[in-house]
Amino acid sequence: MYKYDYIDQTLVNERVTQFKDQVQRRIDGSLPEEEFRPLRLQNGLYHQRHAYMLRVAIPYGLLSSEQLRTLANISEKYDRGYGHFTTRQNIQFNWIKLEETPAILADLAKVQMHAIQTSGNCIRNITSDAFAGVAADEYVDPRPVCELLRQWSTLHPEFAFLPRKFKFAVCGAKEDRTILLCHDVGISLKKNTNGELIADIYAGGGMGRTPILGSLIKESLPWNVLPSYLTALLRVYNRFGRRDNIYKARIKILVKALGPEEFARQVEGEWASIKDGDDNFQQSEWDRVAKHFTKPAYKTAEQISTEDLVQSALENERAAFARWLERNVKAHQVPGYASVIFSLKPHGSVAPGDATTEQMLAIADLADQYSFSELRVTHEQNLVLADVEQARLLELWHKAKAQNVVLPNIGLLTDIIACPGGDFCSLANAKSLPIAKAIQERFDDLDYLHDLGEISLNISGCINSCGHHHVGNIGVLGVDKDGQEWYQITLGGEQGNHAAIGKVIGPSFGAEQIPDVMADIIDTFVKHRTADEPFIETYRRLGVTPFKEAAYLNRSKESSAAGATA
């Protein structure tokens, strides 16, 4: 894992001092709220429905156990005993006092963490594959590039007041686990035939009000010229992105308006004049950063078959353990090792992505004991121990059970991605958490969930789509109609290599109808699926019509029945 050098640490310390001064000027009234707002947002500090919310950066989702302990302590000391892991691999605290934020940032700085650029119209926390460096299907470990870009983008002077927020994702594996095409810029890393590290650049993707998949605008860019190329790209966006309309200010609108070819041409024109400058990364920088991402001290171990693993459990535990191995344990590059996903989606009890102080402390201990003191945060809002010896999986499962994080629902219907919604967020039009809870309660039968197989269900409380509902196989979007909360359903979204934006099936539903609507959609799938066909394939084969009909048929019966009784 990357360790700050003198420069990184000094920068973060000095940033704490800078923000402390800005907070002080806000408190003494010399800095008006309107002018403080973008400054606090660039430090991840929102003013929410009930209190301030602080979003802490977890660059490319990588976390040490020591850092997780600090986050746990912050949740205890300054919040209400929990934190919320987000779809951008960050963590946020919901109950923060403005005057305490400098102290929190100082605590974070001690463990090489910060909240820089986790919000605001600037380059946001760079996200990546939660299985970077360990995934069996990886071409290239993306983390050195992510770290170099983290440094390059941190407090970048030219791009702190962009037209809108700006999100990067970096991927280096065969299977995209970053939703690369739904980012302002997606960087796909690979090696060319000479073994050199190169990047394909996708631009203009994003969700929100106008979901668009990014377009390939540059192929085979050498890794070291990323700073000059991205400067050119951001400069074009900074100068020509729309500022007259907040809804049209994202780069996706500019790329769409110009067309990807013309946008690429303009970037190329700008890049031509700076590509040979001294902005580009030097080999010495790579060497300094990359040495932190070498492999940990793996033992030489034999690969253990799933069957043998299951047999090692007590007879009465085998079914549950096997299910956990199937859903929550992933293949690793190194024989005898596996990656383990802790589900932060227990059915119906907490908000997806929430972890309590106790859980965070206990999981930090488990990371120390089982995974070289490191963890990952996934964009699906779960936690990962990436380097676990297969031989110790059973032991880990037993211990993790006590923390209520072993529910084997990874990738299943109840592994719901959800934003905090109207319970916390002041942007939201509707609540998301009670919807997630109601669905998890309805689909509480693990056998049934396993039979259904892979289905992604994503819920957003507003059109900003922090819950990524556009790329859920089933998406739920909270909308406001005459001051009332309604929910619109989209179907057919997908993340990964076949990324797709879901389609709205029709008029929205009331909150209380959503579990039944889900049941009708799922029943339709079960009725039409062939063998083990996943939901998305059945949907693609049949199209939206049968699902839509099922969702509305029972509702029209309900309303006529309600009409008859009235």
Binding site: K3, Y4, D5, Y6, I7, D8, Q9, T10, L11, E14, R15, T17, Q18, D21, Q22, R25, S30, L31, E35, P38, L39, N121, Q151, W152, S153, T154, L155, H156, P157, E158, F159, A160, F161, L162, P227, R235, N238, R239, R243, S273, I274, G277, D278, D279, Q282, E285, R288
Partner: protein
């Protein structure tokens, strides 16, 4: 504020390699609409809108008898770029301006509008502009570091900004993680790279 005086006549000057200081502002920003240029005091140093220069300035430069030509000779005329001026479309004009204008400005119509950071960066990088570039408009204390690193070396602060706080801004960071007009990134400029 340490002194209760209007600061519209004050400019924060921060030359590359120098120290930040408050200096008296000698330049008036003319917006081109409120009055005729000729109505302004002929001795007054004036920044004219770049768009106005394109329409009127160039022709008058060639006419050595014009009032503008005289002002240019006396080095009392500069231009300011609006946030939406596409300076790359006027390479020749700006290239010629390098020997004519003693000062150029770039405007922040509202502090949240960061286009002029790119304008300054382009002037330094693309045009190799070595003269002064002044930030004008809604220029606030918390933008000073960004501006100074993008290419500005003077700042006409908004009148209500506290100059004491402003002067301290440039000492806040002793390191940086990307290149800028003033410095290259710390990683390349020194060897203090031991892990902490």
């Amino acid at each position: 504020m340490s002194e209760h005086v209007s600061q519209t006549n004050r400019v924060l000057s921060y030359p590359k390699g120098g120290k930040p200081a408050i200096i008296t502002n000698e330049w008036q920003v003319w917006h081109g609409d409120e009055t005729e240029l000729s109505n302004l005091n002929p001795k007054q140093k004036v920044l004219v809108p770049f768009s106005w220069w394109l329409m009127h300035g160039q022709a008058q430069v060639k006419d050595s008898t014009s009032e503008l030509a005289k002002r240019i000779q006396e080095k009392t005329i500069g231009v300011w770029f609006a946030a939406d001026d596409d300076i790359l479309k006027h390479l020749d004009v700006i290239e010629a301006g390098k020997s004519i204008w003693p000062l150029v400005g770039a405007d922040f119509p509202v502090f949240r509008d960061g286009r002029s950071f790119s304008t300054a960066a382009l002037l330094r990088e693309r045009f190799h502009w070595t003269g002064e570039i002044r930030a004008i408009g809604d220029v606030l204390i918390d933008q000073l570091i960004l501006g100074a690193r993008s290419g500005f070396d003077s700042f006409a602060l908004r009148a209500d900004q506290n100059t004491d706080v402003a002067l301290k801004q440039f000492d806040l960071f002793s390191v940086r993680t990307q290149n800028s007009w003033r410095d290259c990134r710390s990683q390349l400029s020194n060897q203090l790279t031991e892990a902490v």
